[in-house]
Each structure stands twice: as C-alpha cells, then as structure tokens.
C-alpha cells in the first residue's frame, strides 16, 4: 500500500507540471489545457487500475486505491489554483516556472514511458537533488558549502632566537582561530616537544631548542586532531570547557552540540640529559 501511495505523489507532481505547460501555451485558451489534463488523468486512472490488478487482487485494496485517486484529484485542483497565484505574484517565480515547464515537457515523455513500464518515479531523483542544492545555496550558503568554507589556519611562523631558541611568532593568532586558550596550546606544545619556554613582550612564544616550521605544523595538526575537531561531526567549531566538579576537559561542539571528554595534557617521561644526569649518578 505504501508503495502505491508513494507512487501517487510523483504523478501528482507530474500533473502539476502538465498544468503549467498548458498555461504557458496560452492562458487565453484554458479549455484546451483542462482537456489535456483530463486525458492524462484518464491515463493515470488506467495505469492505477493496471497496478491494482497486478499488485493486489483483493477488492478492499482496490477501493483504497480509488480513494487515493479522488484525493489526488482534489489535490490537483488545489495545486492549479496555487500555481496561478504564484505566477501572478512575481517575475522571478514565473521565470522559474518556465524553467520548470521546460523541464516538465521533457519529463512528460519519459513519464509516459514510465507509465508503460508501471514505474513510480517520474521526476529523476538527481534533478530534484540538484534543484534542492540550488535553492539551498541561494538561501543559506553556509549549510550547502560546508566543505568549502573551512577554517583556514595560518601556517606557523617560526624564527630563530639565537642558537638554541625558537620563536613561534603567531601562536596567539592560531590559538584565536582554533578558539582555544593560548595557555592550553602552549602547554600542549611544550609537553609534545619535551621542552620549556616562555612568552615574550609581544606575546610570542619562545621555545627552547631548535624547531622548524614543519615540525611545529605536525604538532599543531595533532593538537587539532585531539583537542579541536569534534569526533562526531568533524567540525572545528568547538569549545574547550573545564568541568570544575570532576576536573575534566570537554570539547563542546558548536555545530552539532555533542560533548566529548579529552585527556589532560601530560608531559610524560623526561630523560635526564647532560650534566644533570651525571650529578644524579
């Protein structure tokens, strides 16, 4: 039964289009349009009966189908009225209607073929999908083009401070883009690189040891993977919140609203190096 109902919706739509076509041909001669629609309705009726016979032999089902048909007829009339209103409303919609009509003409042919084959799809799914995305892109582009408008993270700018120190110039900017506290990012960097450092007067980060931009970039990537990206929807629009009751950090996604706990930053084992080692014995 459900399949049959589903089958009826596309026919309705198809009908709608036919109506549009007839209107385009001449609003002056509405009689011809209605006739054509009636003819097509008859076709539809025949098709429905065929379906009925092939699919269901029971009479009860047959009655249901007839009911559906009448409903469809009413819907048709309603649709027709609406169409007229829309056309009179705005030029834009009229243009769109023309396009639709043009598409409808093509689909009529294919639709009739489908009728013969007794298939329920009359408008190709692809074209519907395309239209949906067109409208979506017009109305709210941030939903349609999610992949294109990714956060751009500036590459780390690295300078050498003397022989043994590295200056990470744009930590603050990167932390801001990632919506993270710079302290947290710096803490992670130090833990991962196994060094220490400080922040200078211009809020640049000075790291002990020699590091290249690509090194820091890979560490940054891991930081983003672990502390920024939402595991559920892969969005970077997240926030790091600290629960004071259990001292855990949570990623709260602003896109999908999910929360996930993340482990705190651990420095891990640090081997003693150089003179210290000898002193310890």
């Amino acid at each position: 039964m459900s399949t049959e109902e589903l089958g009826f919706d596309p026919t309705l739509k198809k009908k709608k289009k036919k109506k549009v076509v007839s209107k385009e041909n001449g609003t002056a001669s509405p009689g011809s349009g209605t006739i054509s629609s009636k003819e097509s309705l008859d076709d539809l009726f025949a098709g429905a009966k065929k379906k009925k016979k092939t699919k269901y032999s029971k009479e009860t089902n047959g009655n249901d189908a007839v009911d559906d048909l009448t409903e469809g007829f009413e819907g048709l009339k309603l649709k027709k009225k609406r169409k007229k209103k829309i056309v009179s409303k705005a030029d834009e919609s009229a243009d769109f209607e023309k396009e639709l009509a043009a598409a409808g003409v093509q689909e009529e042919d294919s639709g009739e073929i489908y009728d013969e084959k007794q298939k329920e799809t009359f408008i190709p799914y692809i074209s519907l999908l395309d239209r949906f995305y067109e409208v979506l892109r017009e109305k709210n582009p941030e939903m349609a083009g999610g992949q294109h408008q990714k956060l751009r993270i500036p590459p780390p700018e690295v300078a050498r401070d003397g022989n043994k120190k590295t200056v990470f110039v744009n930590v603050q900017v990167i932390a801001h883009v990632l919506q993270r506290n710079p302290e947290h990012l710096i803490q992670y960097l130090f833990a991962e690189l196994g060094t220490s450092g400080s922040i200078d007067g211009e809020k640049r980060l000075i790291i002990k040891g020699r590091f290249q931009a690509k090194n820091l970039e890979s560490v940054l990537r891991r930081y983003i993977q672990e502390y920024v990206i939402c595991q559920t929807c892969k969005s970077m629009n997240t926030e790091l919140k600290r629960e004071s009751t259990n001292r855990l950090h949570f990623i709260v996604c602003k896109a999908c609203g999910s929360t996930k706990s993340v482990s705190s930053i651990k420095t891990g084992y640090q081997a003693q190096i150089g003179a210290n080692r000898r002193k310890r014995g």
Binding site: T3, L6, G7, E120, T121, Y125, A191, E192, L193, G194, T195, G209, R210, F211, Q212, N215, L216, S218, V219, Q231, T232, G268, Y269, Q270, A271, I273, G274
Partner: protein, 109 residues
C-alpha cells in the same frame, strides 16, 4: 522506489568502533633534543611481560645505535635510544611484538 536512497545514509548513533571505556595502556614514544642536532628516543609503557633487556639488545643492533634502560618511579622501565628512532621503534613493536598500532602514541615534532 523499493530502495529509498535517503534512508541509507550514515547513522550518527551507530557504534563508532572506538570504545574508550577501558583504560588502555598506551606505549608512548617520545623524542628529546640534546645538544646540537642530536636526539634521544624514549619508549615508555611497554608491558611488564616483555623482557626489555632482550628488546633493547635487538633494537640496538637493528638501528645501529646505543641505548639503555632507565628505571623511573612513575612509569617504570624506560627504553632510551640514541637518535630519532621513533618510526622504526613503532614498526618494530607492531611487526615483531604484535602490538596494536592504536595503542602506540608517537610524540614530538
């Protein structure tokens, strides 16, 4: 219409596979910078049932480097190797000792 394409999409409530309920003992492979361009690789968290001495012996021979085992109060025994051996150590752990790659974490740049 028997297969509606829309309904066969990704199910956000399905099990994602990464169940992190039980605490996993990660093996951490870290790198430390020494003087100049010299580095030190440390491997912590290798399970107790492995004989670290034997592992170290093989590693030293394989990677052509020196190394030793340090005892630490917090993390237990630590394998130290000269130079940047992180990737090689991980491959060794996965291939020779059959450890799971997801339980090994490589740190450092």
């Amino acid at each position: 219409m028997s297969n509606i394409q829309n309904l066969k999409s990704f199910d956000p409530f399905a099990d994602s596979g990464d169940v992190e309920t039980e605490p996993t003992n990660y093996i951490h492979i870290r790198i430390q910078q020494r003087n100049g361009r010299k580095t030190l690789t440390t491997v912590t968290g290798v399970p107790e049932e492995y004989d670290l001495k034997k592992i170290l012996k093989v590693l030293k021979k394989d990677f052509a480097c020196n190394g030793n085992i340090a005892k630490d109060a917090e993390v237990g025994s630590v394998i130290q190797l000269q130079g940047d051996q992180r990737l090689k150590v991980m491959q060794f752990l996965v291939k020779q000792l059959g450890m799971l790659k997801k339980n090994i974490k490589i740190h450092g740049f």
